[in-house]
Subunit: 167 residues, 2 copies
Amino acid sequence: MPSVSEVIATLTGAAEQDPANVQPVVRTAGHLTGTTEVTLKAGRHTVVVDEPTALGGGDAAPGPVDYAVIALASCQAITYRFWAEKLGIALDDVEVKVEADIDLRGWLGLDASVRSGFSAVRIEVTPVGSESADRYQELADAVDGHCPVLDLFANATPVERKVAVGA
Amino acid sequence: MPSVSEVIATLTGAAEQDPANVQPVVRTAGHLTGTTEVTLKAGRHTVVVDEPTALGGGDAAPGPVDYAVIALASCQAITYRFWAEKLGIALDDVEVKVEADIDLRGWLGLDASVRSGFSAVRIEVTPVGSESADRYQELADAVDGHCPVLDLFANATPVERKVAVGA
């Protein structure tokens, strides 16, 4: 397994040669495998999603909004790892907590003034290592400017939808 | 396990009594457990996230951006289930595919004009059942107006960040 610094060098070289080398398409596909259970493939991995019993599911796995905050928390942690390497900042571990507020009246269509998504998200990150608070703040600022899932949360993304009805 | 129609009736009644009854906080917490491996808790579930070897990981699990599209695909499928029940539309299954374009030059800080998140997302949904194409289109429109993770993708969400440096 290449080190993080080797990966950064390899990706940087590949991007300089042709940006298309570092422009993957992220894909998943799946279907309902229970009342609220969804089974999806992502590359060679299979992931199960379900709702808790209070939402009609079997609680076999986390729900969609849980996976959304898991995506954010893990993207923060991994981006700390990569940017610590880029900036030469020692980092032993990163602890990440994410909380997100949601009002299910939006999802259920009970109040048109309530958005269906999260109304607010809070991230708390604790970098663990021997560096000064100033250097970890420098790292945090770099991470927050480059974390893909933070960008997804904080900004609008164009989404194209197609319904294959009558197929 | 209550049926979907029972769940909708229960949640609707609870929301009418006090909106706070249907305003949960979605939480996750975890830390780096490998070079790019992150292990997180979400309720009683433990989820592992990792990067493929080309990104310095062990490919033990999907990566953060994979979980983001999994969150979207599964939220669509489950919202089809709930809104089919609300609208009285027969639905045997829903097949969902999501594709998302990303340019890793944003994450790596190689080009400040490239956003770190997805540049475009495409969803393809196939509702399976005995209803007309018109009714499934009606369902799709209702889902797209109420799907929490689609709202998260398509619109900006306020995110508050706190770094516990020197803790």
